[in-house]
Symmetry: C2
Subunit: 213 residues, 2 copies
């Protein structure tokens, strides 16, 4: 089943919302309720749910528990997978701290750093290995996703090694664009760029408001 | 000057690249060099630079230092501004740790948390205040941007207070969509959704590859 990028993102958001409603005891939900929360149209919600093959009746509302189960089945058929993180510097540590203790079916199962001093240590509960162990550790585990939190000048080389070792999805926090084969999916999370962008628009609107007053 | 969202994002990326080249001693750069690095076309680079009013000659290449100065002038006319962060839980602390000691013209100047125990403390070098001091502290400073790292169920209320107190740009890490007035710019950074999306595509390609082999 080929599901478009944006659909996957929306379905993940629906599931998060549905889990909250399910925990609060809600049994059924209409597409317009789900739409309102996520800022999309009810028609979009219905199309998205048809895309993942959910066959509930929009007229009577969707069954919350059944819909969650269907999304889980579509997005996460193997619950036992984990992710690895490469680059245990300031950013990598911040992420390990964030994920530590979080209920997450994608736990960080191993971290790697070029600094041999860090090998063998536990960082926020996660075992840290030397970068030279990357291929060995990945060969032992069925990991397909990696967080890349290395500096920009090391990112491409590390990404190449990860891809050769079987990684097929990267969350890239390094400040560069990566060149990867078409079968590898890269998501860019660029905190500094996001912040600078917001700062620019916050000021632009200030100037526009000043002019119009 | 009305600069589109995507142009701002690209110009921020160009600047980061230009700063690296400048530090390495490069004096001039052609649009195709800048384009290659960021994965856009040279024509796009030239359009973007015209949009911000840079008048270098593409034929002879752009002057690296002059271009950086022009981008700074366009994007950051006031270098003295800072940002605040609301929500000093696991995620907020991770961000404070990340930004601490980073050369950044947008320092986190104050943090806020609902827990009165945290008031008065320094967290990774940043002063933490009780949430009840939000309006007072913002009134004293010319801050227009906030990081929102509170839990989802508190995010809308905190966002409303921030907007009333003069905040015009939000980097939202809380797992909900925010309702804000049109003059407020929100950037969503959703780490869990990004990770789940990558995990899905990493598996999808695995299945597609298995079928075609």
């Amino acid at each position: 089943m080929k599901i478009p990028d944006r659909t996957v993102e929306r379905v993940i958001l629906y599931r998060r919302r549905l889990r909250t409603l399910h925990a609060a005891g809600q049994v059924r939900i209409y597409s317009h309720e789900l739409a309102g929360v996520e800022g999309v149209t009810p028609a979009q919600v219905r199309r998205d749910l048809m895309t993942i093959g959910y066959t509930g009746s929009p007229a009577k509302g969707y069954e919350v528990a059944g819909l969650i189960a269907k999304i889980d089945e579509t997005l996460n058929p193997h619950q036992d997978e984990g992710v690895v993180l490469v680059g245990v510097g300031r950013l990598g540590k911040a992420f390990l701290a964030y994920f530590a203790g979080q209920a997450n079916h994608l736990p960080v199962v191993a971290a790697f750093d070029v600094d041999p001093e860090k090998a063998g240590r536990l960082v926020h509960g996660c075992r840290c290995h030397g970068l030279d162990e990357l291929e060995t550790v990945l060969a032992e585990r069925s990991v397909r996703v990696a967080f890349l939190t290395v500096p920009g000048d090391a990112a491409q080389e590390v990404a190449d090694r990860l891809v050769r070792a079987g990684i097929r999805g990267l969350v890239n926090l390094a400040p560069i664009r990566l060149r990867v084969p078409p079968e590898v999916y890269v998501e860019y999370l660029d905190i500094t760029v996001s912040l600078e962008k917001v700062a620019f628009f916050a000021r632009r609107d200030a100037r526009a408001a000043a002019r119009s007053s």
